[in-house]
Point group: C2
Chain length 146, copies 2
Amino acid sequence: MAGASDPLLSLEHFMPYRLNRAAETVSRRFAAIYRRHSGLTRPEWRALATLGQYGCLTATDIGRHSAMHKTKVSRAVQALEDRRWLKRQTDSEDRRVEHLTLTALGQKNYRALAQLALDFERRLRETLGPELFDQLNAGLEAFEEA
Amino acid sequence: MAGASDPLLSLEHFMPYRLNRAAETVSRRFAAIYRRHSGLTRPEWRALATLGQYGCLTATDIGRHSAMHKTKVSRAVQALEDRRWLKRQTDSEDRRVEHLTLTALGQKNYRALAQLALDFERRLRETLGPELFDQLNAGLEAFEEA
DNA sequence: AATGGATTGTTACGTTTGCAACAAATATAC
DNA sequence: GTATATTTGTTGCAAACGTAACAATCCATT
């Protein structure tokens, strides 16, 4: 009888599994929100949010900040450019580099989406309860440092 | 000047973003381990781990437990069957249903991989420090309940 | 200034993914 | 008992993905 006579590993208590499930759930719910609002994909939202926060970055910068593969960034930037939400400006000293900034339209949409994000997080905090939310945050912060 | 004059949203402190980064990092590192060990993909590992823990499940069960799309499950099961790591047995009463169990070979490999998983988690706990690790776990548990 | 090596961003290609349609079997309603 | 709906698992297809190769540019060593 093949079986779970003595399961060596309990997935439900396995940290990578837990992290993934939580991240997936949160990410998918939030993605549904901004997808409905403006039809952005996840890479596009990430690029927009990074640019909105930092103002002017190169594609490489965006990749570093948002931990996205450079081809993902390249395609997201292209999509945002097609929407006229950002503009490129080649560096005058290093012509490989393109400086990316949000257009007025892009900023307007960024503000709306950032507000959605904050609302979402606030609801998440309420659902979880402030103590546990902060606890989770502290754990994640520790993780980032290590 | 387009800019981050007053960034509405700090991605680094945004919970969904944090969760994703942590999950991605952990998941990728662990995936590298079992990929090197036995060449399993992530869906295949998940199906194997779920079966190893619960003994005998249907494809739908695996999907529910591991939060995978049913096509992903279908393909992972196929791959594991090709390796002779699991066998199917159609239910005698409901012939749509297939009961999946690990073969002896599958169980052997499951045990080895489960051990890798436990080792990985132990190292993770050491890296993070037990207090923060447990804190993170508590936060994730709360999340699962909500 | 010239050759070799790095870096920036895009493109080509094979793989993986999820949605939708599907066949097969069962359950439900009339 | 037949028709309709639901469930289980697979497959076709188009979109998204990452690896690798690439062109363009810059830097370093000579």
